[in-house]
Amino acid sequence: MNKAISTRLTFAVAILSLLIFIILWQVIAQQGLLVKNFPGSFKTIGSLIWWVSDPFFDNGPNDLGIGTNLLISLRRVLIGYSLAVLVAIPLGVLMGMSKLAQSSLNPYVQLLKPVSPLAWLPVGLFVFRNSEITGIFVIFITSIWPTLINTAFGVASINPDYLRVSKSLGASKSITIRRVILPAIMPNILAGMRISMGTAWLVIVAAEMLLGTGIGYFIWNEWNNLSLENIFVAIIIIGFTGFILDQFFGFLQDKFDYSI
């Protein structure tokens, strides 16, 4: 099949399935097939348009535009995530290079990695006495593990030829790390960063339900208002933002793909 036709066909199928979904949703809601007063797709789309047409208003913490809330969440994620990456990459390199660091740090990593980051929320509140910093702290804890583990794995499984070249030239440790190891493990680092970002974006919504403001709090607030259609609006916005973030890392990964 012609490639252009195939792309056009895929697009048409996607549009068609979306239309069917919207119509089915509307019919099911209208007929009360699921539960009574379940918002239909038309009502939800109406809400979406209303929220998106004026996204940045600010009438106090319980009445913020969806864009304002989204930016608050993104800000927390970006700060916590960036701090985590700044810690995870050097620590990961250290763990990958040194058996001693590996064996002394790995037990903590293995123990803490499977814990839901939300468990740290009370700890954060107790220590920082500030919901903003606690949110950032929770995202920090969330984001650190995938990047750390992927970086350490990347260093440990680096093609030994690169290290041999570097060593045979008499390169110092610092040159080897900066000019050989770091570029060589870029694909691993980016894969880790992509997973970290995905998890951070998942966790921020849950964390914010407990912290106030942000897109997660928006959902909690609309639950208190019993406005399910607004919750669907938030779900769509969260999903779309997460998709964009993930695509950004996908793009970076393609840039740093050294394989043939």
Partner: protein, 288 residues
């Protein structure tokens, strides 16, 4: 032969370029990645033992042996990439302590950094070895060596855009760019097809003629060893491989690929090598 002896007499030093004294290597444990300092006490796998060898300046020496006999280990020791368990490696009268830019190393898998372009790969070596050189100097020198291997036009290509033969030529340019007086090659043409291999062998000979360097070549190809070398060192099968024989290849240079195969000396040495390799390979295969 004349050429070889004249080369030795022009060198004003009275010791060999490279001397291996009772060299041995035991691997105590497997390492997943290069650990900068590690020593074990457990008994391990003895790759080579009691290796004694002298290599004269600007000669071309091939080391040949059955697979798994520790040829690559020997080369890694000379390169300083691994430390010997026993014995000494003496270069120009001095025991080596580690790797150094006096030795250029060429690996079988080219070992080019895939995130760097061709010219950047060479610049990386130059910047590492000559940190004081200016950017322009480094670029100029990198370009010169790319020109030498006929790849000036590919200077901004990435390794994945190059063929295997081109990659190895870049690796040769990189190894020579740091101006070593010894070139250590670990089965450099092993991964190439026969035609590319012949082309690169000729290329290597012409480069060697112009750049005075001592070459130590690890190979498992008898023809390659005969075509290129002044001396062929035969290793026994491992573990605990030793040098079983050293053979001088007294064939006129430049050697012509077709004509050389009619030469009685060539045929005599070839037969001897084949017999040796067959015997040693049989020893390996029949143990397992």
């Amino acid at each position: 032969m004349n050429k070889k002896s004249s080369k030795i007499s022009t060198s004003n030093e009275n010791y060999s370029h490279l001397e291996l004294v009772n060299l041995g290597k035991i691997f105590f444990k497997e390492k997943k990645f290069i650990d900068f300092r590690s020593k074990g006490n457990r008994s391990g796998f003895e790759a080579i033992k009691d290796i004694n060898l002298k290599i004269e300046k600007n000669t071309f020496v091939s080391i040949i042996g059955p697979s798994g006999c520790g040829k690559s280990t020997l080369l890694n020791l000379i390169a300083g990439l691994q430390a010997p368990t026993s014995g000494k490696i003496i270069i120009d009268g001095q025991a080596i302590k580690g790797p150094g830019p006096d030795r250029g190393v060429i690996f079988q898998n080219y070992a080019l950094m895939p995130w760097l372009t061709t010219i950047q790969n060479i610049e990386f070596a130059l910047n590492t070895v000559f940190p004081a050189k200016t950017k322009a100097d480094v670029k100029e020198r990198a370009r010169k060596y790319l020109r030498m291997v006929g790849l000036e036009k590919a200077s901004n290509k990435f390794p994945k855009e190059l063929s295997g033969g081109m990659k190895q030529r870049v690796a040769i340019a990189r190894a020579l760019s740091i101006n070593p007086n010894m070139l250590l090659m670990d089965e450099p043409f092993g991964a190439l097809d026969a035609l590319t291999r012949s082309y690169l062998q000729d290329e290597l000979l012409s480069i060697w003629r112009k750049n005075k360097v001592t070459v130590v070549l690890i190979t498992h190809s008898i023809e390659e060893a005969l075509l290129l070398s002044d001396k062929i060192v035969l290793m026994s099968s491992g573990p605990s491989a030793i040098i079983s024989e050293e053979i001088s290849v007294d064939l006129e240079r430049p050697r012509d690929r077709e004509k050389i195969e009619q030469d009685p000396t060539y045929l005599k040495i070839k037969m001897r090598l084949e017999k040796h390799l067959l015997r040693e390979t049989r020893a390996v295969e029949e143990v397992t």
